[in-house]
């Protein structure tokens, strides 16, 4: 059912209080309600977008060029699912492990811990069948697959179900401004409306599912207010924040039979290094998206190549005319090295509710550049060696220029900040997404990712939310 904040009684008690109505919050709420739990589902924004609510998302950015924090995420019912593109892929098994000597990329769980939740997550996101990756003959790389959600807008899709479910109390304009704790457990979530009224929401358990920046900001602020009694070892809180850098690598001329596979996406092909390549090269994960071009663009690519290899260019022209080759723009989206320096802090500036705005410090590292350069050269060499194509790289990949400022920059996949770890000195939540040192406070969403692989995060977010719900159901 839906309730106004003013109608929420101080004596109301819930099994679980969930903050946020994006993919993580809604998935967790529905799963708990289906198990008979009473859930308070709090959305800071309204049912629709409003300038006032969205304004609470403003923040500062320092470092590499990045997006306006008030534009890269949405603060109303359904959260950022209201403008996501829908691309989905699971993380690779290697993404849960230490990559080379980098223990920092290790999750305290492994892929088999999330696999049981894949089918349900795919159903929630309305995904077509997922295909297995296929190693390329000749080694080093594999053909990978992304599938597209329609995309599901969680507010639109689940509004009627959430409102109709008597076990769920959905409250809009309910902004988390504090958490009461006795040092070992949360006793209430302090919530404020845009009109200034305040309420305490009491529950057995609390889940923050507010997003990849907001989970850090809320926890930093609540922890500061509570004198550090919520996250007692806060060394990693807000830190190890990540996005997937997204840039155009260059362009490729490809054997048509290599590029297009029957029954697969006719506009794109996706490739990634194998786990062995990642280990041997000391790199992180990296996805390549080849976007096929029209004939005229492909012909221009061949003409460019003919300037450096006239005979090969001439032969490629004959192949292009016979539609035996095609052109493609090659994009890379890759895993960023988890670094403590990339972080969310509380800014001096305050929002309309009197809370500090977030300040994001974000830079790409030398290891980030090394990863994409290694994959680019490796893939180019693979194409040339096997005769399946040729790749031309942009000057920034060749080390002749800086990253371009006018490219996509990043995937707006805001991850980390409250990372999952085996011990409190390494992260904020444990393998069950419970905040270390608190018996009943949990986090959901991409903020718990200790490392990011190269896949878009939403499918993993939903898998993790289902796993969290299952864990909470098993508690008395």
């Amino acid at each position: 059912m839906r309730l106004e904040l003013s109608a929420l009684g101080e004596d109301d008690h819930f099994d679980c209080c969930i903050v946020g109505t994006g993919p993580a919050g809604v998935t967790c709420a529905l799963a708990l309600a289906d198990a008979g739990k009473r859930v308070a589902l709090l959305e800071g924004g309204g049912e629709d977008w409003s300038e006032w609510s969205q304004g609470l998302y403003r923040g500062e950015v320092e470092g590499d060029p990045y997006f306006d924090l008030a534009a890269s995420r949405l603060r109303y019912f359904g959260g950022t699912s209201n403008h996501w593109d829908g691309w989905c892929r699971t993380l690779d098994a290697v993404d849960f492990q230490a990559k080379g000597s980098r223990e920092i990329t290790r999750w305290p769980i492994s892929r088999p811990d999330l696999d049981p939740h894949l089918a349900k997550a795919a159903e929630i996101l309305e995904l077509p069948p997922l295909h297995d990756d296929k190693p390329l003959a000749g080694g080093g790389f594999k053909r990978v697959h992304f599938v597209a959600s329609p995309p599901v807008r969680f507010g639109e899709k689940y509004r009627d179900r959430l409102v109709a479910d008597r076990r769920i109390t959905l409250v809009f304009d309910a902004n988390l401004v504090g958490l009461e704790t006795n040092g070992a457990a949360i006793s209430a979530a302090k919530v404020a409306g845009s009109d200034g009224q305040r309420r305490g929401v009491r529950a057995d358990r609390y889940v923050l599912a507010a997003g990849g920046i907001e989970n850090s900001r809320l926890l930093l602020w609540c922890n500061a207010q509570a004198g550090g009694q919520i996250v007692k070892d806060a060394r990693t809180l807000g830190r190890y924040w990540m996005d997937h850098p997204h840039f155009q690598l260059g362009e490729a001329i490809l054997e048509d039979e290599f590029a297009h596979h029957p029954g697969e996406n006719e506009h794109y092909a996706f490739f990634a290094p194998t786990a062995r390549t990642i280990a041997q090269s000391g790199i992180l994960n990296c996805g390549l998206r080849l976007q096929f071009t029209i004939y005229e663009e492909s012909a221009q690519m061949v003409a460019d190549m003919a300037c450096v290899a006239p005979d090969l260019g001439s032969w490629f022209f004959s192949q292009l005319g016979a539609t035996l080759i095609c052109g493609a723009i090659v994009h890379a989206a890759w895993e960023q090295e988890p670094r403590a320096e990339n972080r969310i802090e509380l800014s001096e500036a305050r929002d309309a509710l009197g809370m500090p705005r977030p300040k994001l410090f974000w830079r790409k590292s030398a290891a980030d550049l090394h990863t994409v350069q290694t994959v680019a050269f490796g893939f180019g060499a693979y194409l040339a060696r096997t005769g399946t194509g040729r790749l031309r790289l942009e000057p920034w990949v060749l080390g002749e220029a800086d990253y371009p400022d006018d490219d996509q920059l990043a995937g707006q996949h805001q991850m980390g900040g409250t990372r999952m770890a085996a011990t409190p000195d390494q992260g904020v939540v444990d393998a069950n997404c419970k905040v270390f040192g608190q018996s009943n406070l949990y986090l959901a969403g991409s903020s718990v990712f200790p490392s990011s692989g190269h896949a878009n995060p939403t499918l993993t977010i939903v898998q993790l939310a289902l796993r969290l719900a299952e864990h909470l159901m098993g508690l008395s």
């Binding site: 460019d304 300037c307 450096v308 060499a381």
Partner: protein, 41 residues
């Protein structure tokens, strides 16, 4: 049928190219941003 014809044409092209290029150890070079085989010319 179209695929069959394309495959044959492709095979013929590769055989033609192979006949023209003397075998040599494969190396990779970068020219003007293009990642090429050493024997691409």
């Amino acid at each position: 049928m179209r695929l069959h014809r394309r495959r044959l044409l492709q095979l013929a092209c590769w055989l033609g190219l192979a006949a023209l290029l003397p075998f040599r150890p494969l190396g990779i070079v970068v020219r003007n941003g293009w990642i090429l085989r050493e024997d691409d010319n």
